[in-house]
């Protein structure tokens, strides 16, 4: 399936392990990077805000994909872990006056510690039962945030300052874009590298066959907790970015719907694939906007469609997930691989 182009011969193990095999791909990756860097100068405010939201969603989805897609531990609490990161970052900066640049990794570690704690049941339970246990973590965390008023200000939320370097404030979509995409590039590279080394292999082994993994010397408990740790760290980073981007956070930002949205992202994008997380996060973040545009253009024909939009969005969202589960359970990533494989063999694909 993952075919290399004809005429490409890897003559060292190092070459064989590369992520980008050909000059062609490397060239286009550079072009992509240049587009990402120069993008904000071409995009208008609305598109930029979409790009920012997508970037944050990708970081969160990468985290969940490490836990659920790679290590096979289903989590319904990802939204809450993002919330922990957001609140940690918000409190650190607004109450203690710590700079955003320190608060960002600290928020990651706070969320990771909480994730570690809620990951402990994973040693004993798996599959659906673990999903319910993580659902409990979602409920407990949000309950705590809502009711611990002295710390979190309850449902009225917290105002979060924008990050700054000296006197330069990152308070526009454009300036924040660079923070998000800097972090995003690091997060993507880390996840991709994790996949091709020992820890990532151990995660996949646990997903595919936990007994065999243990027989081969993988300490299950340790690696499951590590998966929760890394995943929640990503969630914390995404939460921190979210908090400083939106600049006001309330518990409603981190409900179970968010957790399920993230789960939908990785299912639609492709479980256990870094690229899949990216495709899925883009798809799910842009789907509502896409539907809005369609509704807007149909307004002339069906004048009331704008009112029906709310219900329609939920229905189409659900329908998309179901259709993906039936027709492309391996996600967008797999579909893209198939398309590439088709064209590599075309026109002699027999």
């Amino acid at each position: 399936m993952n075919k290399l182009p004809a005429g490409l011969f890897n003559i060292s193990y190092r070459e064989d392990r590369q992520i980008f095999h050909t000059k062609f791909i490397r060239f286009w990756m550079v072009i992509l990077l240049i587009l990402i860097i120069t993008g904000p100068f071409f995009l208008n405010g609305y598109l930029l805000s979409l790009a920012d939201l997508t970037g944050i969603a990708i970081i969160g989805a990468l985290g969940l994909n490490i836990l659920t897609g790679m290590a096979g531990q289903i989590s319904l609490g990802h939204g809450a872990f993002i919330g922990v990161g957001a609140y940690a970052s918000a409190l650190l900066t607004s109450r203690l006056g710590i700079s955003f640049w320190l608060a960002l990794p600290m928020a990651g570690f706070v969320a990771a510690a909480v994730g570690l704690f809620f990951g402990i049941p994973s040693l004993r339970i798996k599959g659906l039962y673990l999903a319910i246990a993580t659902l409990a973590s979602q409920v407990i965390i949000i309950f705590t945030i809502v009711h611990w008023r002295s710390l979190t200000n309850g449902t009225s939320g917290i105002l979060v300052p924008s990050p700054n370097i000296g006197s330069f404030e990152f308070d526009t979509d454009r300036s924040f874009y660079y923070i998000i995409f800097g972090v995003l590039v690091l997060a993507t590279l880390y996840a991709r590298n994790l996949f091709r080394t020992r820890v990532g292999r151990a995660f996949i082994a646990i997903r595919d066959n936990d007994i065999a993994a243990e027989i081969l010397g993988v300490n299950l408990f340790r690696y499951k907790l590590l998966a929760f740790f890394i995943s929640s760290f990503y969630a914390g980073i995404a939460g921190s970015l979210w908090a400083h981007y939106i600049t006001i956070i309330t518990p409603e930002h981190f409900t179970m719907v968010v957790s399920i949205n993230y789960l939908a992202m990785i299912i639609i994008g492709g479980l256990g694939s870094v690229l899949g997380s990216i495709y899925g996060a883009i798809f799910i973040t842009l789907l509502p906007e896409f539907l809005r545009v369609i509704a807007g253009s149909l307004n002339g024909i069906f004048p009331d469609i704008g009112n029906a939009l709310g219900a329609l969005r939920e229905i189409i969202f659900g329908l998309t997930v179901i259709l993906f589960l039936i027709y492309e359970p391996n996600g967008l990533y797999h579909r893209w691989q198939m398309i590439k494989a088709y064209w590599k063999l075309w026109p002699f694909n027999y």
Binding site: R14, Y190, A191, R196, T197, D208, N209, A213, L216, V218
Partner: protein
């Protein structure tokens, strides 16, 4: 291994079984279905914890160790029903076998360039020796879930070898194979034992193979050991003949 007792509820899977496996042997365990052969291997590799009795490995009592620690000590195994990581490539399956020989953790692995890459490449060289030995070069980059049964069995042996164990426990490595494939596997087992210097513990039903390649044989029946010795001794042991080889042995 001394006085092993293992029971599930009221069922005695193993009753007072004692074995002594010498270093460098090919040790075969035979017996009718449900005799407790696989339970015995599971007890050695730590999937089951016997209620009574002790297991010693190189003079060390390992009865209370969890299975991943036993793997680190050098006990590897293959399964009767293939237990591979189906979503991974052959290469990744073998690399996972070398898990205990790689040090880089989540931090170094995530950074990748530097120590982690060097380590991966060093392991890769060793893994390629195994691939070469088992003649599975063409399927190196194939996802194992898509491979044929015979190849999957080989990949599983390779994965156990990648652990570089002192003892390799094989649960029916030749089940469901034709004579030619069985000969291949038998040759691999002998090479593993002689060239790689690993002790092999083998469960096998094909008496011809057992008699040919093993140095010592143990016979189980209903969880009890009813005979142990060289293949010739086992062949002439009346209790074994009665329980397993058939009453009217024509040997």
């Amino acid at each position: 291994m001394r006085n092993l007792h293992l029971n599930f509820g009221g069922v005695n899977a193993l009753f007072d079984v004692s074995l002594n496996i010498q270093e460098g042997e090919i040790y075969a365990i035979i017996g009718p279905n449900g005799a407790g052969k696989t339970s015995l291997l599971n007890s050695i590799s730590g999937l089951y914890h016997p209620q009574k009795g002790e297991i010693y490995f190189n003079g060390k009592n390992i009865s209370r160790l969890s299975s991943y620690k036993r793997a680190q000590l050098g006990i590897a195994r293959t399964f009767q029903n293939i237990e591979l990581f189906k979503g991974m490539t052959t290469l990744d399956n073998l690399m996972l076998g070398a898990h205990t020989h790689i040090r880089s953790g989540a931090l170094l692995g995530g950074i990748y360039f530097g120590p982690a890459e060097k380590e991966e490449i060093r392991q890769r060289k060793f893994i390629e020796d195994i691939i070469d030995f088992l003649e599975i070069e063409p399927i190196r980059h194939e996802v194992v879930g898509t491979l044929s049964y015979g190849f999957q069995k080989r990949v599983e042996i390779g994965r156990a070898l990648a652990l570089r164990p002192k003892v390799i426990l094989m649960d029916e490595p030749m089940a469901g194979m034709n004579i030619e494939e069985k000969e291949d596997i038998a040759r691999f087992i002998i090479d593993i034992n002689e060239e790689w210097g690993m002790t092999v513990v083998l469960i096998e039903h094909d008496m011809g193979v057992v008699m040919d390649i093993s140095n010592a044989v143990c016979v189980l029946d209903f969880g009890k050991k009813i005979g142990e010795g060289s293949p010739e001794e086992i062949r002439d042991n009346p209790r074994v003949i009665q329980a397993y080889l058939g009453e009217e042995a024509v040997i």
